[in-house]
Amino acid sequence: MARRILGVVVLLLLVGALLTVLTLTAPLPASVARPQTFWNWLGVATPYIVVALLGMVVGLAELGSTFPNYPLEAITSGWGLGLIGLNGVVAALVLAIVRYYAPEADLFLLVLAVGVGFQAIIRTRFVLAKQFGEGGEERDLSLNLGWLYEQFQGICKTQIDLALMRERESAIEPLIRSFPDEKTLYNLALYTVMARGTFSREEEQAKIEELNKTMANPSLPPEVVQKAMALAILETGGQGFAQMLCGLPPKEKLPPPARLPERDTLVARLMQALDKGKLVDLAYRAVELSPAGDREALRKFVDDTVADKRSTEQAIRAVLARFVVEKGGIAFAQENLPPEQPPAGPPAQ
């Protein structure tokens, strides 16, 4: 954030310095005296400042509409600030030239003509002669005054896109590290879409459809799905929201023993460490920990699961392990896990 603010300050200082040089050195109409004091100078510089500001606002709007998902990041990137600054300085320069050649023209009209008209002219393609029929646009005789600006705009767009891609990559990495499974990332992305108050029903549905399409595509490997979900969270919720999510599970803030493991991780560890018999035993013990009114239904569920002959043993173990975690609680599941073996060190010499 500090880098962004610094960028904006540098841009304003640069544009201000260029305007100062311009107003102090540019030839003024004979009727205007060369400024001696700061206030005199401000009086002379005001039209230039207004024109530069108008140009900068147009540049800002262009960037905002070109990068609707990351307007702030695009505007405060180096190339974004450059484009905004260029719009402002060139507009002021044009005003100086026009004022020199038309010293008697009404200053208010000049400011308006340059501030608004110049911005329109450098973005306009004048067709001098048009061919008959459709589709012959490239063979029309035209004068494209905005060609040079278009080229610069193209370079800026590519460079900003590349900078944003680098930022996106570094912003989604912590999300994937904090929520390494597809399920949590999908659920967070879904929540982010639904929590955005400004989406219309159609926009919301389109976003959810996009998420579901990614999840439903069996050819996409888990890493790609994870990145797509993290990107959706980032694009929908913004960088601040993504950072807040990464700070939510207190992984970095608490020492490792105080961390609560993810339920899915616990289920996997239970399945890995215990055979079906032990899981059944634990499931019945979890039933005893539940409120008295629920016990009958829970016991019946465990009975039905144990008696299930149609499901695979893996599926039954998954359901029993899940039951232990959900109904017995995380602490109960952890207590009944054998201690983790430390990773094997190098053999003793």
């Binding site: 659920n187 879904l190 579901n212 999840m215 069996p218 299930d308 499901s311 039954i316 392990a321």
Partner: protein, 81 residues
């Protein structure tokens, strides 16, 4: 889209509407529907286009269940009404 479902299928769909993506074992434990019945229902719901079953090797169940966009929207509409 008309949701014509049996009571237990409706419970699963509503649970997924509330909770987002879930694993089959989570659904079985939350609804207390026996595993075989849960898995059969999930396959039926997938064939009918209500849900998507995604293979997720990193998950203890190996599968993830999500609602299709149409059903999700339908449930959201019902909630809003």
């Amino acid at each position: 889209m008309e949701l014509r479902l049996k009571p237990n299928e409706r419970r699963i769909i509503e649970l997924l509407g509330r909770s987002g993506a879930m694993t089959p074992s989570e659904i079985a434990v939350q609804t207390l529907i026996p595993p075989a019945e849960t898995f059969e229902m999930l396959e039926r719901l997938e064939r009918s286009g209500f849900i998507v079953l995604r293979d997720t090797p990193s998950n203890p169940d190996g599968k993830l269940v999500i609602l299709t966009s149409e059903v999700h929207e339908r449930i959201r509409q019902q909630v809003r009404i």
